[in-house]
Amino acid sequence: MKARGVARRAAFGMAVVFLVVYLVFPFGWALVSSFKTNAELFSLPARFWPEHPTLEHYRRVLANDDFLRAALNSVLVASSVTLVSLAIGALAAFALGRYRFRGRSLVLYVILSMTLFPQIAVLGALFQLVNALGLYNRLPALTLTYLVFTLPFTIWVLTGFLEAVPVEIEEAAYMDGASPLQLFAKIMLPLAAPGMVTTGLLSFIAAWNELLFALSFMQTPDKRTVTHAILSFSATTSSAFEVPWGQMMAASVLVTTPLVLLALVFQRRIIAGLTAGAVKG
């Protein structure tokens, strides 16, 4: 009986260890590779640990103006999308979460279905729109079009948050003669703050990770975002015989580390947001 228990615990422990290795290995391997010299990267059999760790790849990546520009672009786009969708989304969520009116469920339904439809389905039409607005190869084109996927989600989650606020709080505010706008700004917004942090993080990460629109609406290297820039790495920077894998891995580590850290620091909120958004749907 005891032996069985030990064996079971050992099996369980191994399963957990295996799971963790599986989850972090690709990132870990990129990390290790990014510190290897080219000689070590391109030698057989592969070394699992860099014998002569080097920062050379990072130095080169950080000296690459196109890459730095792309990182800045991604920060600009992701933050502006997050701010805009939080602002618009919070207003809408206030209406949907605190008011009962005709058409409310239709609006909710439309917003929910927006989270489901594929972005590729509107690519052609959005391209014409972006052109018509003169936004082609301009970063605001991404801010605008990324709302397609950040806004519905933001509204959905924040509505859930605001619905949960007890009605007494609202009534008390009206008794004190507050206008709807004051109620929204002074009472509801602070109450929804945790939800805003969650949805803000998710929007930021989604915008940072986007590729299709970035690829289609931006053209010149100074307008690329990081996901696009990493793809272009091998296409333009290699003058040597090998694809610059070392630099590519260093760049990959640089653009993912902030996200991984964000995800780890805010893991509870993110997991709650991810599952709340889905389970309710």
Partner: protein, 404 residues
Amino acid sequence: MPPPRVPRAERHAGARLVFYAESVGIGAAIDRALARRFALDTGAIVDVVLRPRDATETYASYQRLFQARSADVDVLSLDIVWPGIFAPHLLDLGAALGGLAATHLEAAIKNDTVQGRLVAMPYFTDFGMLYYRSDLLQKYGYDAPPATWDELEGMARTIQGGERARSRSFAGFVWQGKAYEGLTCNALEWIHSYGGGAILEGREPTVENPRAAQALARFHGFVGTISPVGVTGYEEEDARNVFQGGNAAFMRNWPYAYAAGNTKGSRIEGRFDVAPLPHEPGYESSAILGGWTLGVSRYSRFPDAAVAFVGYLCSPEVQRFRALVGGYIPTIPAVQSDPDVARVLPFLERVRGATLVARPSNQAGARYNEVSIAFYQGVSKALYGTDPEKALEQIARRIRRSLR
């Protein structure tokens, strides 16, 4: 060797140009050096952006920039099949550069003149050729490069078999098999050298013929035998890297690889030569006519500086420089016959036997890119194992849709 000064330079201080430059081989470094020289002599800053190496992507980029009437690009490298397509978006260079144009090859200028407007200037010309390792041919007892595909296959097999003992990744024959414009060029050469036509006859696709199917079947057979499995993902530079690294017996590539292979420190310096591409018995050795031209966007904010820059790049001085440093074939006959140039481009003489084949840009007009994409996508499928006849049928159907 330093880049030549700008002849009769005018000042263009304050102008800032974006130049979509060559990104293949040492072209990038040369274009950067030329841009710096131009900036020094005229005061116009030139930002060199390397165009995507994949010509199809370059095409798509230009198309989108033009659709948006974007001023984000001023001077563009254009494949010789594009001037007709992009003409509405390109400035007429006739007034400023007509005199210079008269010194270039007449055929090249004709190609760049659309409805009486000179929309581009020839930069360099190109054609496909067969590179072979002269030392290895000798080692295995061959006294001449292969004339037919059978001969090539036999030699490649023998040499690969022998050399694999030394290097496990040695390949018999490398070429451009990735699904992109380069594959259109490669496959057109195969099919033409098989007597299978040239994709379009008028506006009607002609690819559905048994000769074309045989050509595709043969190259599908090469993949994984005398060519590495990965060849179906190769562009020019991938093929050149393998060949120049001493790891292939034969290569199909453009002339730029000649100068690159003979640079100091190259593993194959002085150990390779070129010949016309092989053909089937009874048919012609075929070489695709390639090359690049330079145009100026109509939406440029600094058209004068941009035109002056194109004038500089297409001047005899620069053409000579690019030939000597990069092995790029000049489009000015006087420069071609310059003794120094003739010495670094000996292959001009050696590949004389090949028939130059044009891509069907005249027939397809503005839809050329679509036709080419349909063609190389179908060819690529055949290389991955789709039945060649079925692949050709799909190509024909897609081309008809594009041209309807």
